[in-house]
């Protein structure tokens, strides 16, 4: 069982988000975007095969500033600005991966993966299988998802369930800076295509990060906070909201355990089932719409398992509304679970059952 160290909680709002600073115990403050950048730099330093390509990742520094100065440090050969050609660049990532390179392809918004679906789903995911194991596709695709920036319906989606549904792909959703760095390095160490869905709202958030990214493994979740009354399983930005909600719930006398699967495919089923078995109640939180979403899979997995008998309450899901993400700040906020929604649902779950 893996329990998150308390020190990795986010730095309180107001802390300087722009500086990487070192603390006394080897911890340092770093934003999520900086962690992704540092992981890419580490990977490029230690392995000539690693390179980054994407739209505006060079002198522009990336649409969200993730690549920033990497092109100055590693040159334009290894930090490559592409034309606006998502299908082309993912396909080139596949071709380069097949022939001895380890490409990182940045897709500016995860919504634009729709443009690249053939190469992600029909090519990258299936090649190792289709050719009888002759070849691997060690391709990492990074793409930010999620709402909360006023970018409206074509720049705010959470499409993880689509990709998790495709055999052959691995799907990672880091919820903090340490994981953003550590899981990216794990993804680069993996011989399979890995989609890393980052979150736009987290990019500028600061976190306490250890001096070196810990070794991580795709398919290993973490208990972010231990508790006894209910288990909250959440992904990406909803992990942050769930942790904040858990703090408020504690003040009201409710002890919530918060689990972050970190990788949704492969999924750390054991971690979730063990927790649910102990707490007897489970609240599943995701930003994506409820219908046919990833948490439906988690829900079914729990319901089909032996821990079903340990449940003291029906499994409850708290998800995004079944709507495209709207522009209005009021509507956008109402469309996805917020901290108060998690507190309300958790309180009801524990109170009613």
């Amino acid at each position: 069982m893996s329990v998150r160290d308390d020190r990795q909680n986010p730095v309180p709002p107001g802390a300087d988000a722009g500086q990487v600073s070192s603390g006394q115990d080897g911890m340092r403050t770093m934003t999520y975007a900086e962690a992704v950048r540092e992981a890419m730099a580490i990977a490029m330093e230690r392995d000539d095969r690693v390179f980054l390509m994407g739209e505006d990742v060079g002198i522009y520094g990336g649409a969200f500033g993730v690549s920033n100065d990497l092109y100055q440090r590693f040159g334009t050969e290894r930090v490559r600005d592409t034309t606006i050609s998502e299908l082309g660049i993912v396909g080139m990532g596949v071709g380069a991966a097949l022939t001895g390179m380890k490409p990182i392809v940045e897709i500016q918004f995860s919504d634009f993966l729709c443009q690249a679906m053939d190469q992600v789903v029909n090519q990258a995911a299936k090649l190792h299988f289709m050719v009888g194991g002759q070849a691997n596709v060690p391709l990492v695709i990074r793409a930010p998802g999620g709402s909360g920036t006023g970018a409206a319906a074509q720049h705010s989606q959470s499409l993880e369930a689509w990709f998790a549904h495709v055999p052959g792909l691995k799907v990672v959703m880091p919820s903090n800076a340490t994981d953003a760095g550590a899981l990216l390095l794990a993804a680069l160490d993996d011989p399979n295509p890995v989609l890393v869905l980052e979150h736009k709202l987290l990019y500028k958030q600061s976190f306490e990060v250890p001096a070196e990214f810990p070794a991580a493994r795709l398919g290993e979740g973490v208990i972010e906070r231990e508790g006894t009354d209910l288990t909250i399983v959440a992904t990406s930005v909803e992990v942050r909201r769930a942790l904040e909600a858990a703090g408020q719930l504690a003040e009201a006398g409710i002890s919530a355990e918060v689990i972050d699967p970190r990788t949704i495919k492969p999924l750390d089923v054991e971690l979730i089932l063990n927790s649910v078995s102990r707490t007897g109640r489970v609240l599943l939180v995701q930003e994506a719409p409820k219908f046919a979403g990833f948490m439906a899979e988690v829900s079914s997995t729990i319901a089909e398992s032996a821990v079903f008998g340990d449940l003291q309450a029906p499994i409850r899901r708290l998800c995004g509304l079944d709507t495209p993400i709207p522009y209005s700040p009021k509507l956008e906020r109402a469309s996805v679970p917020q901290v108060e929604d998690i507190v309300r649902e958790a309180t009801a779950l524990v109170g009613e059952w």
Binding site: F51, E77, R78, R80, T82, T83, S85, L87, G88, I89, V90, G91, M92, G93, V94, G95, A96, A97, L98, T99, G100, M101, P103, D118, Q119, N122, Q123, L127, H128, F129, M130, V131, G132, G133, Q134, A135, N136, P167, G168, K170, D189, D190, P191, N192, R217, L218
Partner: protein, 329 residues
């Protein structure tokens, strides 16, 4: 560039022709299932193009890819075994006709998606460039692929980065039933190269020596670091698009006219006229290939059926962490 060895080119074309005729026969007799796309009539393009390559060079292929794979040196037995859905096939029975690959020898794979290959070929070429090798990737595609956005993106990026890749369009006149003349309002598809700032050339795709010469120039250019080219090879598929084709979109006369331009018979006649080879030489090649195909069918039919267990173990490549754990057990 390697010189074209006439008898080798003739042999390659016969290998493709007889392989596909055997496949058609096995299918007709119910010994092969699924679907397949035959390239009978188009053999000169892969035979001429792949003869320009050297060891280490790569190709990407298409749904009509038997010819490309054979010309790149695919083992006939493992190819036949794959089509027969056996465990000793190239893809262990997981891929079938549309996914034959031999990655170790640079065949990066046939592809069931029209224009699925061009970005992959461009990526292989980028890899060649980044690794500082002089490898070249040949990207075979059909006229249908020219209508795909994927093709446009691959040419755009290959041109921008001067990648060592040659796009070879086998214009066999139809994207399934859509006539390429109707679809593309240019006299020659190679005119499209202008839009990417790269050389474009149209060649008689039923003339193996002409294909070899034109592709050879483009390969030499790519190898010298001067960037990609686009070649249109005019040819014709004698058979339907796939097994469902009733040939409603073309005439018997048209098919018959193109059969008269059979690239194999034509090359044989040319060689005999030149006096560079004898009829006995040609007959010997045919006999040799006939035996190879017979042996390939035997190899394939003797293969084991694949297992569900192996299939399920083959979806993901083992990660280094998993492999270490397995080793420790």
């Amino acid at each position: 560039m390697p010189e074209l060895d006439a008898l080798n080119a003739y042999r390659t074309m016969w290998r493709i022709r007889l392989f596909e005729e055997a496949v058609e026969d096995l299918y007709g007799r119910g010994m092969m299932h699924g679907t397949m796309h035959l390239s009978i009539g188009q053999e000169a393009v892969p035979a001429g193009a792949c003869a320009t390559l050297v060891e280490g060079d790569q190709i990407t292929s298409t749904h009509r890819g038997h010819g490309h794979c054979i010309a790149k040196g695919a083992d006939l037995g493992r190819s036949m075994a794959e089509l027969l859905a056996r465990d000793n096939g190239y893809c262990r029975g997981r891929g079938g006709s549309m996914h034959i690959a031999d990655v170790a020898t640079g065949n990066l794979g046939a592809n069931g998606i029209v224009a699925g290959g061009p970005p992959i070929a461009a990526g292989a070429a980028l890899s060649n460039q980044l690794r500082g090798t002089d490898q070249v990737c040949l990207c075979f595609h059909g006229d249908g692929a020219v209508g795909e956005g994927s093709w446009h993106e691959a040419l755009t990026l290959s041109s921008m980065w001067s990648l060592p890749v040659v796009f070879i369009c086998e214009n066999n006149k139809y994207g399934m039933s859509m006539s390429s003349e109707k679809a593309f309002k240019v006299d020659q598809l190679s005119e499209k190269a202008v839009a990417y700032g790269i050389p474009g050339e149209t060649v008689d795709g039923n003339d193996v020596e002409a294909v070899h010469e034109v592709v050879g120039r483009a390969v030499a250019r790519a190898r010298a670091g001067e960037g990609p080219s686009f070649i249109e090879a005019l040819t014709y598929r004698w058979r339907g698009h796939s097994k469902s084709d009733k040939n409603l979109y073309r005439t018997r006369e048209e098919i018959s006219q193109w059969r008269d331009r059979d690239p194999i018979a034509r090359y044989a006649a040319e060689l005999l006229e030149r006096g560079s080879v004898s009829q006995e030489d040609l007959n010997a090649v045919q006999d040799e290939v006939r035996n190879e195909i017979r042996e390939a069918v035997r190899f394939g039919t003797q293969g084991e059926e694949p297992t569900v267990e192996a299939m399920l173990a083959g979806i993901y490549a083992p990660s280094p962490v998993d492999a270490r754990e397995l080793a420790a057990r």
